[in-house]
């Protein structure tokens, strides 16, 4: 199998703009995976990521990466083009760090997290009932593979093409199921069979919006334990929650760049 990729990306990172143009191919034959550069560039207009980064450059921001990339792929006689926008922010306050990842440059979503984070009080026990914001749910979804609670369904969302140019199938990610698609985050990485564009479904979609809400992650997720920033009426605080049961899943979804992609929706625990 031969896979080729030509791409360019503009990235704002550590206060510098980096523009990268490259092309390469990955050949997998008789168990050997070989990668090498090839000739050719694509012509694409890239976002002014330095300008986009400006409003996010808050003094408490420890790490800021803003990128826009365009890539053309070719595999098994199929050609396709992809465009991706990514925002990663790590922001600190006192002894805490909040992590923000988006597939766009949504300043309002940033403010909805940064505001409560910068006024967060001391650590508290998690409330008995809580909602997870879509960005938190999306980060959780890859960790639910094989362990999703019985009252919800973890689905791979059909549509688009996978890392081998095959159609991404609509698929229920049940424990032990053989996964039909592969993820190839870079031409330099051997494709990995894993669920793409995860989403969560439940027969119950009524969310009680008076409940406290976990608006952001304070650490990468480990298993089913989440360090989160909780907003409860007029106060905000760090807390740790454990996912054991999911009572309801909202039907509105937003895609986030976690794992091989995840559609986050508001959920109620």
């Amino acid at each position: 199998m031969i896979y080729r990729k030509r791409g360019c990306v503009a990235r704002w990172e550590h206060g510098r703009l980096v523009v990268v143009r490259e092309a390469g191919e990955a050949i997998e034959e008789r168990g050997v995976f070989e990668v090498r550069p090839i000739a050719g560039e694509i012509d694409a207009r890239l976002d002014d990521v330095a300008r986009i980064a400006k409003p996010f450059r808050h003094p408490n921001v420890e790490r800021l990466v803003v990128s826009h990339g365009v890539a053309e792929h070719e595999c098994n006689g199929v050609r396709w083009r992809e465009e991706s926008r990514r925002l990663h922010i790590a922001m600190t306050h006192k002894q805490h760090r909040v992590l923000i990842d988006q597939a766009g440059f949504d300043y309002e979503e940033f403010l909805q997290i940064a505001g409560p984070f910068l006024r967060a009080g001391v650590e508290r026990d998690a409330p008995p009932r809580i909602r997870l914001a879509p960005n938190v749910t999306a980060a959780l979804l890859p960790h639910l593979v094989g362990v999703a609670p019985p009252n919800v369904r973890l689905m791979q969302s059909g549509g688009g093409l996978d890392g081998n140019g095959e159609e991404i199938q609509e698929f229920c990610v049940a424990p032990g199921a053989t996964l039909p698609n592969v993820f190839r985050p870079s031409y330099r990485i051997r494709p990995v069979r894993m669920p793409l564009n995860l989403r969560l479904e439940s027969d119950v979609d009524v969310i009680d919006r008076d409940m406290p809400v976990a608006v952001a992650l304070l650490a990468p997720i480990a298993g089913l334990m989440l360090r989160v920033l909780v907003v409860e009426i007029h106060r905000a605080y760090p807390s740790t929650i454990r996912i054991s049961r999911i009572d309801a899943v909202d039907r509105d979804r937003t895609w986030y760049p976690y794992g091989a992609g995840a559609f986050g929706s508001e959920i109620m625990l």
């Binding site: 990172e13 550590h14 510098r16 703009l17 980096v18 523009v19 990268v20 143009r21 490259e22 092309a23 390469g24 168990g31 050997v32 995976f33 070989e34 990668v35 090498r36 550069p37 330095a50 420890e62 790490r63 600190t92 002894q95 805490h96 760090r97 330099r188 051997r190």
Partner: protein, 271 residues
């Protein structure tokens, strides 16, 4: 089996870096020669990763090569798999992990790579270290990755002086190159009971909490995690003995950029 070739150039301008793919036959030949020199040592019964890099900065060609050997999820950067096998066969003879630790086989360099080196990269607040301790970054190449002459650094008082990047696609960062820990007339009294550490699986320093975490892979107490603040590490350093012993390498990851960092330290004690 996986094989990867990547080559390109980065032009650093005032406010941006323009990186593109370029083929430099001389650099590719230099990488091939470095890889050839490693192949004879490949152990067929372990997972082995060979990496060779050649870079041209200010007209000077500099090469680096590493062999990473992994068995049972534990890695060393070195060419002798028997070193790793011996470390993994060390029997667990102690059940406690709160005893004094004897950092053997140069493993103390990993502790101080995190507690002093990374803290220096982040301009962490000063901590009082024992007067007998010296920790320096000693580059082994002529120019760093932005074309400046490679300069050593006293990591106890200043950050590393070299800018490094994993590839032409990456932003240069102030990074360690080769951590050399030395002692001058340090005390050294073996405790009655202690844990001998031989191999480290990984480590981290969090500038936010000032906490150093070391995941120990092979010791007389088995695998365990050592976690202390930097001030606690400094206070716990109770002694050292002998000349620096070369530790079988560190692949240091920061901001997603993996770089080999040399490491050497004498036998050291923390209480």
């Amino acid at each position: 089996m996986e094989r990867r070739l990547s080559c390109g150039s980065a032009v650093d301008e005032a406010d941006q870096i323009v990186a593109s793919q370029t083929i430099d036959s001389e650099l590719i030949r230099a990488c091939d020669a470095e890889l050839d020199s490693l192949r004879d040592d490949v152990d067929e019964n372990a997972r082995v990763r060979l990496v060779a890099t050649a870079r041209r900065v200010r007209g000077a060609v500099m090469t680096e090569k590493t062999m990473t050997i992994t068995i049972g999820g534990v890695s060393i950067v070195g060419r002798d798999a028997s070193v790793l096998r011996r470390a993994l066969e060390i029997p667990k003879t102690i059940d406690r992990t709160d005893l004094p630790i004897i950092w053997r086989d140069g493993s103390g360099a990993v502790l101080l790579h995190e507690a002093i080196g990374h803290a220096a990269e982040h301009d962490a607040a000063p901590v009082t270290w024992p007067s007998w301790l010296r920790v320096n970054d000693v580059p082994r190449f002529a120019f760093d990755d932005v074309g400046a002459p490679a300069k050593g650094a006293n990591l106890m008082t200043e950050p590393p002086q070299c800018m490094r990047r994993e590839s032409f696609r990456d932003v240069p960062l102030r990074r360690m190159t080769n951590v050399l820990v030395r002692q001058t007339r340090a005390p050294f009294a073996l405790p009655a009971k202690s844990i001998d550490v031989h191999l480290v699986a990984g480590g981290a320093y969090d500038p936010l909490t000032d906490v150093v975490t070391i995941h120990i892979a092979a010791s007389s107490a088995g695998a365990f995690t050592f976690r202390r603040t930097r001030a606690e590490v400094a206070k716990s350093l109770a002694g050292a003995k002998g000349a620096p012993v070369v530790y079988p390498g560190v692949i240091c990851s920061r901001e997603g950029q993996e770089l080999a960092v040399g490491s050497a330290a004498p036998v050291m004690i923390t209480e």
